[in-house]
Symmetry: C2
Subunit: 437 residues, 2 copies
Amino acid sequence: MKTIPKTLSGFMELYPQEQLVFDKIKNTIIDTYKSYGFYPLDTPIIEYSDVLLAKAGGETEKQIYRFNKGDNDLSLRFDLTVPLAKYVSMRSNELVFPFKRYQVGKVFRGERPQKGRFREFYQCDIDVIGENELSLKYDSEMINVIYDIFSKLDIGSFTIKINNRKILNGFFKYLNLDNKVTDILRIIDKTDKIGIDNVKEELSKLDISYDKINEIISFMNISGNNDEKLKILKEKYNDNELINTGINEIEEIINDLENRSIPTKNYKIDLSIARGLDYYTGVVYETVLDDYPNIGSVCSGGRYDNLAEFYTDKKLPGVGVSIGLTRLFSKLLEENLIKIDESSASDIIIVPLCDNYKYIYEINSMLKNKNISVSICYLDKGIKQKMKYANKMKNKYIILIGEDEVNKNTIILKNMIDGNQIEIEKNDLINIDKIIE
Amino acid sequence: MKTIPKTLSGFMELYPQEQLVFDKIKNTIIDTYKSYGFYPLDTPIIEYSDVLLAKAGGETEKQIYRFNKGDNDLSLRFDLTVPLAKYVSMRSNELVFPFKRYQVGKVFRGERPQKGRFREFYQCDIDVIGENELSLKYDSEMINVIYDIFSKLDIGSFTIKINNRKILNGFFKYLNLDNKVTDILRIIDKTDKIGIDNVKEELSKLDISYDKINEIISFMNISGNNDEKLKILKEKYNDNELINTGINEIEEIINDLENRSIPTKNYKIDLSIARGLDYYTGVVYETVLDDYPNIGSVCSGGRYDNLAEFYTDKKLPGVGVSIGLTRLFSKLLEENLIKIDESSASDIIIVPLCDNYKYIYEINSMLKNKNISVSICYLDKGIKQKMKYANKMKNKYIILIGEDEVNKNTIILKNMIDGNQIEIEKNDLINIDKIIE
């Protein structure tokens, strides 16, 4: 009686070719994070439930994977921010601040499974945590990181939408709606998803007057380029201190982005961006692929005044970015924005056509010394079967080595796309990287 | 009321500098796996309990993290081999065989916590799975991979001990003890840990005669170099078919290792290596650090006839290697075999001493284009505080940029170890990689 092998729904498990592309994207993200000098961090997947849930609200608690083992009440992490808060507050005397860390790992949420939703998914996070204070330069550095990643990923043009929670909070205070800010922001945050009309309707359910709803909507839709938007805000809300602080911060950041030579087409002020999470208190940003707006935000983040307030009295302000890689990858697949068929597990495959393995391994070593990854096909079968295997591996080039080649001190390099093959002297393999690139 | 932030015992959580070194080792392992053309694989951490436990025995079931979510009986994976068996048997019609995959990920075992034991730990696995048959060349490739990794890790000399379960099985059949092979092998496997005398005592508890125990012990300790051991085995057990098959396989593999130019000092036949796991059926190997024998095996693996027999009728023979990275790292730390203090999160730190960020970012970009990772210190503090921060980051070199440098189109490169500093023309930064290496 065999057990039926199956994988849970809502848990991504890719085919080998797909996984190659997934990992390539993941490595682009990680390499970019590293290029900015973020430390790696790798916290456990399992934590004490009371630690993970110190700050969580109702929805999170319902979704969490929670269980007992021995006497312990345990949970699987549902994001990488709470573990960071735990980590930093446990070690606030030993860490050097500002503390820059990246963490790329799986998190778990037992949501009802639906298309595009995952119960186990990768988050790719960076955060910078300061002690008491943290320069705004780190906010613009975050935007620089996002710009670098989405430029390198080469999946079309993108826009980083920037807002400031201080502007929003100041505005709602001015409307005397500051007791409803969280609820309002949660609704506004859904604008892209549900449309303006539904936003209006949901806002009216909060007992907000028709006039105020219209003022909210027109505020969110202040138009123009970045300078024009800032000018209108300044003129209209000149006497609102919180809004002014928010405007100054955005101006400082935009000035810094200009110094960084980030093209202005890649970022814009969008007053409707709120980010639902309660802990953001300053600049927030979302990233959209211009040609695929229905994918929604593919990378978001922001500034928070106090990361670890549930664990410590120390004031630890921070700023962070998060990419939901599993969802992003599934969307890119869906939209045919990534090509699966062109990837191969190694740069080259050697197909031995004779038994002189001493020679074959010598060739293999020469290639590896040039940082070329090599798979050798050890199939105990005829040439036809071996070529069939090589073909399925999707390599652009393969190397054939038979008795003739051994005797002549050569190899055959075959281009699997056009079928051409050339003979190369063993000693000329020193330049193989120029030939196969 | 604050929640006390804490991490579960038995769960590794490193300091930033430690994590840098851990990741460096992990990346060396992954890069080596990739250089052989193994596909990446990333199966879920959570699986159906009946799938994970299809083949497991008593100990595993007791240790597993198992819980219900909704109607599902779920478990966290306790190794990467069972998920591979699941994966391959689910996709045996689509995968191309031999299927080479690596997987590096966390697995979970709720053992009683003790020094050096972890409940969450990394396994770094490779396996090659064939359809019906699989060349012995893949067995020697595994040994080649191990050789490459431990050479690159540069943690001292090491020996890969090689045996063949066929030789062991043939020998125990010859002793009429084939009904007790699993128990005997489990005891023999502990030789390094508990010593010969305790092995003898435990064997006697299996109702094995004094004479046979002595023959077992002397068999395990056949001495000499590889050729001499094989010669003795051949002479003594000439008429035992299983032993002969085992000897031939080892001979073929050793011949292949010679063709691969792997130094003979790095591998040796050791007839006492058994690998407790039931599924090994052919060549098995363990790796020990010569100067730290009490660390035990740091990398092991072997050949199995049938990976997925609990899920499918297809015959899928395989050969694999596994490195328990979390345990290895903790042992290397314990033995002072890795240096934590010499690692830094970026190649260089820029410490701005003026506000001309346009210039600073230009320098930053020039460095990044040379593939140098750069952290910029944005502390809003005086030079003393900034230098203190830079010092704690453990970088060998930092770059200082003040008004003078901006005006002269230069930078100051400071060696943090000897304190020397030199001024470099901006245009000469094109050669910075040669200066700081």
